[in-house]
């Protein structure tokens, strides 16, 4: 199995308000959906910023064997895409215009381009909304638009930065369904080789992370605490250590309260 991403001794300490990463190393296998978990401020988003080339870092990051520092902006964008948290939209682009922006680097003119755009919209259930202004959409629909835009970028790796934030459970599941559907596919790299689609996600919902990922990377204070198959990484002790808080107990208590409410009704 090829490695989609290899991170070796990555450190980043730029800017006072930025979280610091210290000697982060892990790999993500091609097609292995991976969740990154950790308390607020442990450096998850900073890690993503390093992966998209936004922040400088020391150490090494390889995407499908290519050193990220040897790649130009557009070459990184052909390999890694980012689905951000639900953000506001300030201007009324149409759904289609918005999805097309994902092809900034690749273009929208050829029949292949149009096919990718149409397929991305279809996959995310947006075909009927193509001419709709995005600022009139619901939160769930809007996040689907951003997902379609990210898919239209045609990168084999998609980074998810808390993609289900602000979404209710139904839309969370719906979004993850679309993502799973995408993950089954393959994408062509610029050098012509095909590779299996790979998701790397930051989640706050540990249950969701376990549900949608094969591997888990547990982070604390800018370091990797543990990385590997989710069954191996996710233990009560490790989670408690990572969050400085008994996460499993809290989750169980919540579940119990909810269940006792449901059993009364």
């Amino acid at each position: 199995m090829r490695e989609a991403i290899r991170i070796e001794h990555l450190s980043s300490d730029y800017g006072k308000d930025m979280k610091i990463l210290k000697d982060v190393s892990f790999t993500v296998g091609e097609g292995n959906s991976t969740a990154i978990l950790g308390a607020n401020g442990c450096g998850k988003t900073t890690l993503f910023r390093c992966l998209t080339g936004l922040l400088p870092f020391t150490g090494k990051v390889e995407i499908f064997g290519k050193d990220i520092r040897q790649l130009k902006r557009d070459e990184i964008a052909r390999r890694i895409a980012l689905l951000p948290q639900t953000s506001g939209v300030y201007f009324s682009y149409t759904v289609k215009e918005c999805v097309e922006l994902g092809r900034f680097v690749r273009g929208v003119r050829t029949s292949h381009d149009r096919e990718v755009i149409d397929r991305a919209m279809e996959l995310c259930g947006l075909s009927d909304l193509a001419q709709h202004p995005v600022d009139a959409l619901s939160g769930g629909q809007l996040q689907r638009v951003f997902l379609a835009r990210t898919i239209a970028q045609e990168a084999p790796v998609i980074l998810l930065d808390e993609p289900t934030n602000h979404l209710d459970l139904r839309y969370q599941n719906e979004l993850m369904e679309y993502l799973k559907e995408w993950e089954k596919g393959q994408t062509c790299l610029p050098d012509g080789s095909t590779c299996r689609n790979t998701l790397i996600g930051i989640y706050h919902d540990i249950g969701l992370a376990a549900q949608v990922s094969r591997d888990v990377v547990l982070m604390k204070d800018g370091r990797v605490l543990s990385a590997g198959k989710k069954e191996q990484v996710l233990s009560r002790e490790r989670l408690t250590d990572a969050f400085d808080f008994d996460v499993t107990k809290a989750l169980r208590e919540r579940q119990e309260v909810l269940e006792s409410c449901l059993s009364h009704s």
Partner: protein, 334 residues
């Protein structure tokens, strides 16, 4: 879009036609037709009208048109770039800086023979540019990625600081206070063909450069992290676009004084009519902003004729309520 473009050109001519001396549209057509072919204008049109049209009204209206276009372009860029619908060409402090520069020249009665009457615009432009560079430098020092909220915040702080200095300078202005006030309010009175030349060159240059960046501007309007991931070189594009927007606003402010609201309103109206894609927003803002300012200038010279009121006051008087109406309408839609 074609229809709107035609309406804009028509409005431009209407605003030339109205005034203490009325020149009919057909007369204007005739004068233009003959002059452009290098022929003498037929004597059926009074010679006085020909002179008024060619050397007063036309350059004045065109100056207003290109200034309005340049200001609106700059406003459209700043709004997209900073993801802030309230941003304008003035957000980075170019107008405060330019006003301070001009105030300094007016108050000290400074003169440089080589520059002649260009001293005022030149010093205004230079001071405006310096202010923006200070804003960008400070913002970049605080935040390497030049995030929008940092830029807006630093822009505001520096503008307020420079405005305070302007207040200080004008308190020493004495009998020159009126000249200073007139300058800060903006006017197209006495604009000649060389003004038109400079404004046109700046506006068209800006339009071309910005249209080439329209796509990346679209992407950047969704936020910096996303724009990076989509493949835009955000930092480089941001600096380039901020500089072009500053150039556009700076040239306008230094030739005509501070004229507000065009840059704020025109892009919003355009987005309402033609959608948010900058391929359409930029050229249409240019046209609509241009004809709006030409029209405002016509109002400013005719409404209390023979006295002229500052065009900056007219744009704000028309623009402010208009802006509120559009915003309230938007709110209701939500």
């Amino acid at each position: 879009m074609t229809v709107t473009a035609c309406i804009c050109v028509l409005l431009l001519f209407v605003s030339i036609s109205v005034g203490s001396v009325r020149i009919s549209l057909s007369d204007m057509g005739t004068i233009l037709w003959y002059t452009l072919r290098g022929l003498p204008v037929p004597s059926s049109i009074p010679e006085q009208n020909v002179t008024i049209f060619l050397s007063v009204r036309l350059p004045r209206a065109l100056a207003a048109f290109f200034a309005g276009g340049a200001l609106s372009l700059s406003g459209a860029v700043m709004q997209s770039l900073l993801q802030n619908p309230l941003a304008s060409g003035y957000t980075l402090g170019v107008s405060s800086g330019a006003s301070l520069g001009a105030a300094f020249v007016i108050v000290t009665d400074w003169s440089v023979p080589a520059l002649g009457q260009f001293l005022l615009p030149a010093s205004g432009f230079a001071a405006g540019l310096v202010t923006v560079l200070v804003v960008v430098a400070v913002a970049a020092r605080i935040d390497r990625t030049l995030r929008s909220q940092t830029v807006v915040l630093i822009g505001m702080v520096v503008s307020l600081f420079v405005n305070a200095m302007l207040t200080l300078v004008s308190s020493f202005a004495g009998d020159r206070a009126k000249q200073l006030l007139a300058w800060t309010m903006g006017s197209f009175n006495g604009k000649r063909w060389y003004h038109v030349g400079v404004l046109m060159a700046a506006a068209l240059f800006g339009l071309v450069v910005l249209l080439l960046s329209a796509k990346s501007l679209d992407v950047m309007s969704f936020g910096d992290d996303e724009a990076y991931a989509i493949g835009v070189n955000v930092r480089r594009q941001k600096i380039l676009l901020l500089l072009v927007a500053t150039l556009l606003t700076g040239v306008c402010v230094s030739f005509t004084g501070t004229i507000g609201f065009v840059d704020l309103v025109a892009p919003h109206v355009v987005r309402k009519l033609f959608g948010a894609s900058n391929r359409r927003v930029l050229p249409m803002s240019f046209l609509i902003g241009g004809s709006f300012l030409a029209l405002s200038d016509m109002v400013s010279r005719t409404i209390l004729s023979p006295q002229e009121i500052p065009v900056g006051a007219v744009t704000a008087l028309i623009g402010a309520p208009f802006f509120v109406v559009i915003y309230l309408k938007d709110r209701r839609k939500e």
